[in-house]
């Protein structure tokens, strides 16, 4: 039986880090460019997720 789960948001961190790193590493060969692109991609992913969270929050609070 699995134990209690921590906040679900924590589970997004390894995914965001891995996805942004692997994605940017397939775009560039230069390590500096990879790190820079990975940080940009990570910020984009977090921003997009925050936007979707806000939209869903508004819908669930005020619309439904």
């Amino acid at each position: 039986m699995a134990g209690p789960m921590p906040n679900d948001f924590w589970y997004a961190i390894p995914l965001i880090v891995s996805v942004s790193l692997v994605y940017s590493a397939t775009r560039h060969e230069d390590m500096n460019l990879i790190w820079r692109h990975a940080i940009r991609a990570g910020v984009w992913i977090v921003g997009l997720m925050a936007l979707i969270l806000a939209v869903l929050f508004v819908i669930s609070t005020y619309v439904v």
Partner: protein, 192 residues
């Protein structure tokens, strides 16, 4: 063109197809074979890390192959198989209809056929006991497999944006290029 620019623009991918197969079998192995060690490390740690973490979350039960048209198809496995060798035992256990894998239940297809009303199947029990971990583990392992497809493409065709730096070169790079150019020109001027 300076020496540095030339090396920046060329990349020996060796045997591309072999590298692609290696990249599928073990994430990062294709790049290691091509001598792209830093990227190989990134791919290996990130993708295998995601896959293993997903397996741990799902108690090793989230990666299994089941394909019975009209009955039960395990669609996530199509993504999970992208990670290569770590997912292949699922095919073996499915083919052999095995009920254990080296003494564990890892990769084994859970019993999903309903036995009667109010009789939970093994798959139902897994969902009940693992709760969201079952879905989380499935998602983690699926994303690991999908990311490895990008890695295979990179091993076969090289980086998507090529090897040339886009935009104006930074100052340090410019200085190095100028220095290289001077070094190349100096022997010619000396002989003239």
């Amino acid at each position: 063109m300076s020496k540095q620019s030339e090396t920046r623009e060329t990349l020996d991918l060796k045997d591309r197809m072999f590298a692609g197969v290696l990249a599928w079998l073990i994430p990062g192995a294709g790049h290691f074979y091509q001598g792209r060690h830093a990227k190989a490390t990134i791919f290996c740690v990130c993708i295998l890390g995601l896959f293993v973490f997903g397996m741990v979350l799902g108690d090793g039960r989230v990666v299994y192959a089941q394909w019975q048209p009209g009955k039960y198809r395990r669609w996530p496995f199509l993504c999970q198989v992208g990670v290569g060798a770590p997912s292949l035992p699922a095919l073996v256990t499915s083919y052999q209809n095995a009920d254990s894998f080296f003494g564990t239940k890892m990769y084994v297809v859970p019993d999903w056929q309903p036995k009667g009303e109010d009789q939970p199947t093994e798959l139902d029990n897994l969902h009940n006991s693992l709760n969201r971990r079952f879905e989380m583990g499935t998602v983690y392992t699926m994303i690991a497999g999908l990311l490895n497809i990008l890695v295979i493409y990179d091993a076969v065709a090289g980086p998507a944006y090529g090897l040339v730096r886009r935009g104006p070169p930074d100052k340090e790079e410019k200085d190095k290029d100028e220095k290289d150019n001077k070094e190349e020109e100096s022997p010619a001027t000396a002989t003239a």
